[in-house]
């Protein structure tokens, strides 16, 4: 007997009755909201308070500074690129894990979560040595003239490392829940495999793909530990925004750091709103 999912709008009387019967709403909600405000909202608001420590033209100088804009731009495009790579490769990995059989599959499935559980600094140090000119992967690449460390490519690699698990774990349940009957029916009606993929599988997994991309992207955007060891931190070329923030914090330029942080928060927020809008549109289309 499947439990009822309580999402539908219910008559007020029922709601009130449930509140009275179940009890604990006041305590749980009150605690949650206070804790959330104290720990999350209050400190976050300090970004804007601290930023206000600068006069308006000071704020503009930081925002419009070519170094900061460069770094924010780099952070965004590498995160977006890594999001795309993560989505494609994560989708492939999820597909293979759900649909095919191969040796050690359970092990592979378990290890997909590794970047999720591994400390970012360890990932960063390891990737940077591995991909460096003397590492197992970096050496052959260097011979081919490809530099990973100290280049945007390296940043993207580190971001993909931490982004792939999100995509795989978002897609797996969706792929698992796909009913084989739909595909069977389509095929019995004469659809080729490619058509099946285009018209059935892609729309079904579309929302999950967008969610996966969003998660991978927003995680990659703010990532520090894994990326900082890979990047060369060259202003205008390989400096990412979190590094600028940390540098300003280190130098005591708190208002400047807050300004850059505010820029990143705002841009990320706008992007997430856009992506969430895309998801809603998709969902409405398929309903």
């Amino acid at each position: 007997m499947r439990p009822e999912v309580t999402t539908a709008v219910q008559p007020l009387a029922v709601k009130k009755q449930r509140r009275r019967v179940l009890g604990g709403l006041g305590l749980s909600l009150g605690y949650s909201v206070s804790w959330l405000s104290l720990l999350v909202l209050l400190p976050l608001s300090m970004v804007f308070v601290t930023m206000a420590g600068l006069p308006l033209d000071g704020i503009w100088k930081v925002v419009a500074s070519r170094q900061v804009l460069s770094a924010v731009r780099l952070s965004f495009w590498t995160a977006a690129a890594s999001g795309v790579v993560s989505t494609v490769s994560g989708a492939l990995l999820a597909w293979v894990l759900v649909r095919y059989r191969f040796p050690l599959k359970r092990l592979v499935d378990a290890l997909v979560d590794l970047p999720f559980a591994l400390p970012t600094a360890v990932a960063g140090v390891t990737l940077s040595v591995l991909a460096g000119p003397s590492g197992w992967i970096g050496k052959p690449l260097a011979a081919a003239g490809v530099a990973l460390v100290n280049a945007p490519a390296g940043i993207i690699v580190a971001m993909v490392f931490i982004g792939v698990p999100f995509v795989v774990r978002t897609l797996q349940p969706v792929l698992q829940d796909l009913e084989p009957e739909t595909e069977d029916a389509a095929e019995s009606l004469g659809a080729g495999r490619v058509q099946v993929i285009r018209r059935i599988l892609l729309p079904a997994t579309g929302p999950a793909l967008v969610t996966g991309f969003t998660l991978a992207f927003s995680r990659a955007l703010g990532e520090y530990g894994s990326v900082v060891f890979m990047t060369g931190n060259l202003p205008f070329r390989t400096e990412i925004a979190p590094v600028i923030i940390k540098a300003k914090m280190d130098n005591g330029a708190y208002a400047g750091a807050a300004t850059v942080a505010a820029m990143m928060l705002l841009a990320a927020f706008l992007l997430l709103v856009a992506l969430s809008g895309l998801q809603n549109w998709q969902r409405r289309r398929t309903e």
Binding site: S28, T50, S89
Partner: protein
Amino acid sequence: MRGAVNERRTEPPWVRRALTTVALAFFVLLLAMPLIFVVWSSLARGAAAWAAAVSRPDTASAIRQTLTVVAWVVPLNTLFGVLAAYAITKFQFRGKAVLTALIDLPFAISPVIAGSIFVFLLGKFTPLGGWLESHGIKVIFSTPGMVLATTFVTFPFVARELIPTMQAQGIEDELAARSLGASGWQSFWRVTVPNIRWSLLFGVVLCAARAMGEFGAVSVVSAHVSGETNTLPLQVEALYSGLDVTSAFAVSSLLVLMALLTLAVKAGVEWRYRRQEARERA
């Protein structure tokens, strides 16, 4: 239906093999190789050197410091996670969507920003920080600051694990318990909690793992005093900067072990969960 495998073989075998090969190659290059590399590098100078690096007083202190931070962060976030998930999934109220979105907020914020905001709030020259300082309470550059920053970063973990599970379970069991005369507390401890034990365990483990590994946020609020305020990830960075790469990898291997343990727990939890579901369906 978690864990079940939907295997169908409607692609020609060569396509299957090709896709599998590509996926596995990607997996090995990106995910497996770093793992192997850490283990290999940490033993590069022999097992004795590994043992020496791991048993250094600096390392022991880093382990202690990491555990201290985790010991504060996990209970705090678990308490919040359970209460927030309870409120969100068992009731209807205005602003529920906003609350749910806000809980996810720390997930999308860079750890460096997460650390910085506590410096903005509690640094020496802020009103709040100055007051604490005058009473001899050190927050920034000391353990409390690190606890706060880590709590912020791992804030959503437990709640996010619990919400889907509790959502799917609904309120029938609790209503049944109440109708049988149980009090609110009894219904909570004897009905709600046991129902969510696997998700709760996994959320706690995930929160602990992330808290142990946090780097960016604590890097901003830490004093980088080796042997004192350095957590394990900070110690890895310190060793790396001290040109002692083998020791850095040795300490990293401890963190890798912890990560693998997390993954093993998750696999175990999922397996038990699947068994529990199968039993309930039978």
